[in-house]
């Protein structure tokens, strides 16, 4: 049987998710927005165009760090790109930015595909993070030049001409372009809102970027179709790029390291960090961005379930690889275990296990933690820190192998005990390059958020059409429309 739903009488105020204690009820009430569309537009545009003093200071700090890091890079570049160890920490920083911010649009893409409603206030912030790809690309170009060609060593490119440099550059340009394309296409309707209601440089820039958008059904259909196609392409491309980067910048630099799961594990790590990044940004927008009316615990609850699943997958993928190596006990496999887990880089590995698996698992298995804002945010910070340590482990570990063209890792280490070398610790220049890379990424993201509204106006107002509350017997319950 079907009941026709009458919408609840709308108020001008948002009803936040709350516990209702009347008559002994304590049913969780998901957020249902009821304010007019115009108010949504006004609120979000106002919050995204104001830049307080703290924001400007942060911009200045990150910009300064980027310039300092860039200067150190220039100084070091004068010595050439022949020594891997000099650039190990730059690669780790790039790996971190690629795994986190540059992979973040996958969150928006996948949640749009499954048509979840709770993702609506989060999707744009995930897409905006893709602008970090511009800084990532700047870091990547010298790193690609550093890579040796595929002669006399094992790579996924076998004997393809131009490998790996051409393909790596093409892959990175592709993923950055796709990420920016998704950001632009998804922002067109909001850029039209800025064109119509914004002021100053934002208005004139938006006029250029969204000049002809009027909101006809054909235009909406086109945008959604384009987002679906770009989303699928981005998803497939991202997994491919993770595979390539993990193979070329880690696997193939360690002689004899044959590990089919490693690229897939790297991709899962990317997905986990992407979700973590998005949650953290959403929390910051809620706390400091002036978007309290649009962000509720629903977003954290939905995303934390995904984060828990990805944390479990992170551990599962690692274990799948480790079990084969531990069981096989071939000399090169044991050497890899010693290098990356048991000896040289055991400290960052221990940090990664704790921060990427133990903390998320132990916190997020509790429903009360998942249904809060603070616990998923703490877990996100934990995951991001763990990923940072993990990228140091993988890329510094790979970049500091003595001879990439040797037959097998274990043959590189002299002496009867076959000891692995000690870890390569960062010097002052390395620290500056790390901070510069991170600073640059944060700088460009913070700038982008002040143009592209970090909460998608059109997706939030679309969600308002499909979510409403109604009375069912003695209970107020949410009704979710499923148009297709």
């Amino acid at each position: 049987m079907r009941r026709k739903t009458k919408a609840m009488s709308s108020t001008t105020h948002n009803t936040h998710a709350a516990h209702h204690e009347a008559e002994g009820e304590h049913h969780y009430q998901p957020q249902v927005l009821t304010m007019p569309h115009a108010q949504v537009t006004q609120d979000i545009l106002r919050a995204s165009s104001t830049m307080g003093r703290t924001y400007k200071l942060a911009l200045a700090l990150f910009g300064g760090l980027f310039i300092a890091g860039f200067a150190v890079f220039i100084v070091r570049a004068r010595d050439g790109f022949d020594t891997f160890t000099s650039w190990a920490y730059l690669m780790a920083t790039f790996g971190f930015i690629f795994t986190t911010a540059m992979s973040a649009p996958i969150f928006s893409v996948t949640q749009r595909m499954v048509r979840s409603h709770w993702r609506r206030p989060m999707g744009r912030s995930a897409e905006v993070l893709s602008v970090a790809g511009i800084v990532g690309a700047l870091m990547f170009i010298p790193l690609v030049l550093l890579l040796p060609n595929a002669d006399n060593r094992k790579t996924i490119w076998m004997t393809f001409p131009g490998a790996p440099h051409v393909y790596e550059l093409a892959a990175l340009i592709g993923i950055v372009a796709l990420g920016l394309a998704i950001l632009y296409v998804s922002a067109i309707p909001d850029l039209a809102a800025i064109r119509d209601h914004g002021t100053g440089w934002r208005k004139s820039l938006a006029r250029r970027l969204a000049s002809s958008f009027r909101g006809t059904p054909r235009e909406w259909k086109g945008i959604k179709a384009m987002l679906m196609v770009l989303g699928v392409l981005y998803f497939l491309f991202l997994i491919g790029v993770h595979t390539m980067i993990a193979s070329d910048f880690a696997l193939s630099l360690v002689p004899g390291w044959k590990d089919a799961i490693f690229p897939a594990w790297h991709a899962i790590s990317g997905l986990q960090s992407a979700v973590a990044c998005t949650i953290l940004v959403t929390f910051l927008l809620y706390k400091f961005g002036g978007y309290k009316d649009y962000i509720s615990v629903d977003q954290f609850w939905g995303a934390s379930k995904i984060m828990l699943a990805l944390s479990l997958l992170w551990m599962y993928f690692w274990l799948s690889g480790f079990m084969i190596f531990w069981y096989g006990r071939q000399p090169v496999e044991l050497a890899v275990i010693k290098l990356f887990f048991a000896e040289s880089y055991r400290f960052p590995w221990a940090m990664a296990v704790c921060l990427n698996f133990a903390v998320p698992f132990l916190l997020l298995i509790w429903n009360a933690a998942r249904k809060s804002m603070i616990a998923p945010t703490i877990v996100s910070c934990s995951i991001l820190l763990g990923t940072f340590f993990d990228r140091i482990r993988i890329y510094v570990g790979s970049f500091t192998v003595a001879d990439v063209r040797a037959d097998a890792l274990h043959e590189l280490h002299a002496g009867p005990l076959l000891e692995n070398p000690p870890p390569h610790l960062p010097g002052t220049a390395d620290v500056f390059m790390i901070l510069g890379g991170l600073g640059g990424a944060l700088f460009i993201i913070m700038l982008a958020i002040k143009f592209f509204p970090p909460i998608s106006i059109w997706e939030v107002t679309e969600g308002m059409l499909y979510r409403r509350k109604r009375r069912f017997l003695k209970r107020e319950i949410m009704v979710m429309g499923k148009p297709d």
């Binding site: 009941r3 499954v114 997994i239 089919a260 799948s320």
Partner: protein
């Protein structure tokens, strides 16, 4: 365009109709049902005869010989473990994701899981030749001789995992059946009523009981999911940890096997549901929307499986080792493996997935039946191609290389396993409803709609 079926105007009409239509196959039997069960029983009997002959005469009646000691029976074991993953995928994951379209599919998927797993577990036991003499390697009972299972062996991890998964799946199904047993209790008479009264355990339908059913559904789903991932990972490690066979010692085997299992399992459930829809007239419950949603899920799963397949091949030839390359050349270019490979890759991915991209195909029962059967043909061959070619080239010295020719005994056992699972599903459909009654009724209660302008939007009430 959604395909919502209106089952009635009042709650009684709806519930009555659901009870009537979904219990018809339990309470009444058509002649074609008995014909089908009879035919399947005949095939099972033939397979049983073949097994008896093999036990009596020894493993020599099969095609197994040095160095190919694992053939059809182990391929079939891996295949059926794979099929068993559908239940958890559809039931647990979709329940946790609160996907409404899962409702008619969950119990059939869980039943397929239980019988697939029971069938799977038979094969390593039969494969040992004299099963009554091999139990000591799986269960720690032989205190007299101090011979205990080698816990460092994946062959011991296997029975642990499969027993856990089988026990959990059975319990999951049984607990979820309690409310439906109550419906059976209320609609039957005589001995049947007495039996269902015992099975229903005094269920009355209080809010507490319903709440616990729902909470248990979520909790068990969350607990069974890790078990489901672990089972096929452990089965994959039967091969992955071995160093002596080319193409086996790969770190990607665990997720590769799991995603392959999901691919074949979900396809199998679609096949079963379409057949049962025809047999039991479930047109109002297994709708085009259901198979459309399953088809979309299959596209994602199949593509993920294909990614792992490419990674597995790529990294197997990554180190350009002669033995590995020779094996891959044999798989791709030498008959009969080349034909099998071509069949597998076409039927497993390149025919079904492009077809599934078309909405008309996803919403066609005929085409979904054909494509999902093709997938399982492909996935069975895939397991064969993982196991046998590597073993045929196992030894370093080419004089001990060999080929494998399955005997009629093994072929009968494989065919018999399909008949066994199908027969059991049909037999259990006489005892329990294969579409969960309360789940469908709950879906009807939660159905809603509202208007946006001139458009009527189908909607669902969501508690949280």
């Amino acid at each position: 365009m959604q395909d919502r079926v209106v089952l009635g105007k009042t709650p009684q009409e709806v519930d009555s109709r659901i009870n009537r239509e979904l219990l018809t196959n339990v309470l009444y039997t058509e002649r074609r049902y008995w014909m089908i069960v009879g035919f399947l029983a005949l095939v099972v009997a033939l397979a049983g005869g073949a097994i008896g002959y093999m036990i009596n005469q020894g493993i020599g009646v099969t095609g197994l010989h040095r160095p190919v000691f694992w053939g059809f029976m182990i391929t079939n074991f891996v295949f059926w473990v794979g099929i068993s993953h559908a239940g958890v995928m559809l039931s647990a994951i979709l329940r946790l994701a609160q996907a409404e379209w899962r409702r008619p599919a969950t119990r059939a998927a869980e039943i397929v899981t239980v019988f697939a797993l029971m069938t799977a577990i038979l094969f390593p036991i039969l494969h040992s030749g004299r099963p009554w003499r091999t139990m000591y390697w799986a269960f720690p009972y032989d205190f007299a001789r101090g011979i205990f299972p080698n816990v460092r062996s994946p062959l011991v991890w296997d029975p642990t995992a499969i027993t856990t998964y089988l026990t959990s799946s059975i319990m999951f199904v049984v607990v979820a059946l309690i409310p439906d047993f109550a419906v059976m209790r209320d609609r039957t008479k005589g001995v049947a009523k007495a039996i269902y009264r015992v099975l229903a355990m005094g269920w009355r339908g209080t809010p507490r009981q319903w709440r616990l059913q729902i909470v248990a559904g979520f909790l068990l789903s969350a607990l069974i999911l890790p078990v489901f991932v672990s089972v096929h990972s452990i089965v994959s490690w039967d091969f992955g940890v071995a160093q002596s066979v080319e193409a086996w010692h790969s770190t990607v085997f665990a997720p590769y096997f799991v995603i392959g299992a999901v691919h074949s399992g979900v396809s199998a459930v679609v096949t079963v549901m379409i057949i049962l829809r025809w047999l039991f007239h479930w047109e109002n419950y297994i709708t085009k929307d259901t198979i459309d949603s399953l088809g979309r899920l299959l596209i994602v799963v199949a593509t993920a499986w294909f990614f792992f397949f490419v990674i597995e091949i790529l990294f197997s030839i990554y180190t350009l080792e002669d033995a590995e390359l020779a094996l891959r050349r044999m798989q791709l270019w030498e008959s009969p493996y080349s034909w099998l490979f071509l069949t597998f890759i076409l039927t497993g991915y390149f025919i079904p997935v492009p077809l599934w991209l078309f909405k008309n195909v996803r919403r066609s029962f005929k085409w979904m039946l054909i494509t999902t059967i093709l997938v399982n043909i492909g996935m069975w061959i895939e397991r064969f191609l993982i196991i046998v070619p590597g073993l045929a080239r196992k030894q370093g010295l080419s004089f001990s290389w060999s080929t494998y020719h399955p005997s009629i005994i093994e072929v009968l056992m494989v065919i018999g396993s399909f008949a066994f699972v199908s027969m059991n599903i049909l037999l259990i459909s006489k005892v329990v409803p294969l579409i969960p009654l309360y789940d469908v009724k709950e879906g009807e209660i939660l159905k809603d709609e509202f208007k946006i302008g001139k458009a009527t939007i189908p909607a669902t009430m969501r508690e949280e």
